[in-house]
Subunit: 307 residues, 4 copies
């Protein structure tokens, strides 16, 4: 595994369930094939929006294996846990099964720069210094604030640090700062893939991101925006992005956002059911009608949105 | 003051400063006139984005008086404070000067339903039971979660509760719940004006909001969207809203958001300088260029955006 | 299992490790025997201070089984987890092995009364309505504030709610309120065992607690204070308690507290090593000397403290 | 003002009110005289437990002046505020009246090392680089975690940084770390006075604190413990401290703690009424009886406690 590079779209995969809550394996397969067809360059499973905490160890491993069976791209596995023991156990099993690396979010009790740096040091030691890991920087959900300097320290200390899932908000200046440090030689290259449901993908690409690491219900759009942006087709990238922005914004809501994502993926035929495990809840009829309306409007601007 | 009603756009006014940080009174006047010309139905001054905590008591009162001199619409004044003494002192002075009511945000230490209800009870008692007050429900900034039931309790207990500045996120179901309770008779009518930089104004209007109480740099657009939505022109409302959404999203960022707002208002000629008092910071050149680009794109879709 | 009763001292058991971090099974045995000899009426394993998050599923189950082999008192198992799947998996395994019930702490993201009540409803559903569970009310660590009314709702809704591990701080009035509600018939009897390292055990007993559910390094003292207090020997209870208070206070510190506890238990010969798993850290030499000094002083007042 | 030194007991003064909530000026005088007679070396007014946020600007200034009239020791004034304008205004008025310095707590939204350092830099700039200021490090109340390195940065950057009100918990290692840095020359001398109701005064003195900056209802005891500890009379210091610990612990409770303090000071004849301004609440009868019992027990061990 070359941990110097990550680019394009590492899509965050939801976990498809049957309506009774069991894992829907054929939807896992269909979804994996769809992602590959859409041009993703990687996949992340068992992230926060993969409903990871709602699965036990055996289920977690089985999903990863199912995805690895078909994925021809690197697969990252979310292994965040309240303690290092569970993190280590899951990491060992999924790396043995063929995963390319793991993603680690900080526990929401960390409050000082040093405590964050120490956490990643101990986590890397726990999973093994040879296991590539992704820093998940998502203060909105995890309540942990990492300055660019903290990220640089983590990256510098840990050769197995693979890339940054950047989803701080606001976050544009953070990307610029990290890229400036790379340019002036005070930091080695850190691949940056952005998350936060791509709400700022347009400008994040222009600030220096390498791509996206998120799960918006039209990952094909993410692939195109990343491609257009890298090709310097700025207006085209923004035009496409803006067409999706009303829905991106709607899906980015914490709480109902995942239900929106699954509902649209169900309507697109990618997964069979939009079921969430508890405590997740289904969309209300009013919300569902709003998503339908957004999809109808989107279909006039982006043909692939005709679902 | 009729505290049963609030509708249209109660614009959140920023506080214009000279580049050295002094209050810019002629910009206050120009801004007030601009807002009136744009069709606002009310104004809120000294809110969070009015940089209220950066002004001392005398400055606060002077700004309110300056606005009251010209405003022909109700003026609400933010009086949130860490204790009731300062809240009472400011309330007395601004109500004596002609303000129509005050806005109160909960201190970010409140954690239980009862403690929130008690806080508003004591606050109302402190400022005087005759003073109309606005509940500011903005968990993203204040870390206080008010359920619909808590809002109903506050509204029911306090006859002087005027309206809800709704800026919870996600927040659509909250509006629907409150409206359902009004319909089934379990709650008296509560006017709802939405905030959060109008990020969900389109659907919030459809869920039952009465208007907006936010300060997006094109309040004229807010006025039009509210009008179109109330007139049942759904597609037109969304078309106009969607045209602005890339900029709305950019301005909604905590931190740089206010600098964006002031920068655009300066470019529009509404205020003379985009200066923020400390600890606020100016936009970086990169951010400024991004806003310029967003404005250029917007100008193709909404003629008033040609600045 | 009679879930109407819990009294005396349900000691919180630490998890003994060898100096290399492996579980020390013979120390588990010796510790269990010691607790029984000290007169505890129950044991709680895998609590927060049992370093639960640092063990994987298999280790967790093995410790519980080891304790169950010797314990002649009810054993409660901490099963708090970020999701219901892991909670359910551990609960099933330990209940099958003979545990009497489980302890559940709320995730530190809960912010409203309803969300807390719903969490316990869903947790109980997840583990099975027949499994007795303990509410852990520890805002200092979990940042979740439960009012007495919330506790009453949880207890009323869930017949399998066994007892309250009360460790709110301040917390005396909470006990009084719950007891008042029982007296006036608005709540069925809820056993209350107190935690928070027993810092207020003296007065909590007088307010109506049934005993303690904590792990202070002299659980024999806890047993005696509970007994004296129930026997109405107020001054004697306070005399004994006060003799230990300097050390109780020292051990109650978050962070080093558990290292203090293990160090004293090692010095008392109850466990072989005071090793903590990461991220826990050993006492500094200065702290160790302070504990030694406190023990020396204590030995003049309580003979069992001669270690 | 020599900002290189602070030692002994800088007592935190409560604000005495009449039972109707008005400031009780003769109690202010009597209290000030009592403190001087007890041997304090400084006074801090308008701290968190001085109910500062409950007073408006004019009241705040009047209390400071009243104290300054009689105090023959340096007086520090709490000027913490949500914005720099109010902080500057109060600082100017109290420094002009003769205060020796001000105390500044960080706003509870700060989350990174840099943001804390920047806050104190901007605060010092706002109040004037010549005004001695005290860092209040009280994470339990303010939710801001300052590492020793952050404190060193603040102290190094700001020549007007006077002393540290240390009330982190746990906090012993923090004192040792700061003293170690002074010893190895990597930090200039920082006076440290401890707070947190003196719950660890005994060991904090031994770790290198210069004294106390707290308001326990027997400040005379604080003076003696500091003196004994500095004189190397370790056992005597602990004996006296331990006699008070049951009450110290009781008074240290957030919420009712201040009511305890005022109640005891009223019983001691130092202030006329134990009234708190809202949202503060009086002790319940049960709590009052508990304090009475603690005082009765204390009177057997420390003669001055016969009240």
């Amino acid at each position: 595994m070359n941990t110097d590079r990550a680019e394009g779209v590492f899509v965050i995969a939801p976990t498809p369930f049957h309506s009774d809550g069991r894992i829907d394996e054929s939807s896992v397969d269909r979804m994996t094939d769809f992602f590959l067809g859409a041009g993703v360059t990687g996949m992340t499973v068992l992230g926060q929006l993969g409903e990871a905490p709602k699965m036990d160890h055996a289920e977690s491993v089985s999903i990863v294996k199912r995805v690895l069976n078909r994925a021809k791209v690197p697969v990252v596995v979310g292994v965040s846990a309240p303690g290092f023991a569970a993190m280590r156990a899951l990491t060992q099993d999924v790396m043995a099964a063929g995963a390319s690396g793991v993603m680690i979010a900080p526990p929401n009790t960390l409050r000082t720069d040093d405590s964050i740096v120490q956490y990643y040091r101990q986590a890397s030691e726990a999973i093994g210094a040879g296991v590539p890991f992704v820093i998940q920087d998502y203060p909105l959900t995890f309540s942990v604030q990492m300055t660019p300097a903290v990220i640089r320290r983590i990256h510098t200390e840990n050769p197995s640090c693979w890339f940054l899932k950047h989803e701080d908000w606001p976050g544009l200046e953070k990307i610029s700062q990290l890229r400036a440090w790379e340019k002036d030689g005070s930091m080695r290259r850190l691949p940056i893939l952005i998350g936060n449901n791509a709400l700022f993908l347009d400008f994040e690409m222009e600030r220096g991101a390498d791509g996206a690491n998120t799960g918006y219900c039209f990952p094909d759009m993410l692939v195109d925006v990343v491609r257009l942006s890298k090709a310097g087709k700025r207006d085209e990238a923004h035009d496409l992005f803006d067409a999706h922005l009303p829905l991106i914004r709607y899906e980015q809501q914490p709480g109902p956002g995942l239900a929106v994502r699954k509902y649209v993926m169900m309507r697109r035929g990618i997964i069979a059911s939009d079921t969430l495990r508890k405590p997740g809840a289904a969309l209300t009829p009013a919300a569902r009608a709003e998503v339908d309306y957004l999809l109808a409007r989107l279909s006039h601007k982006d043909p692939r949105a005709r679902v």
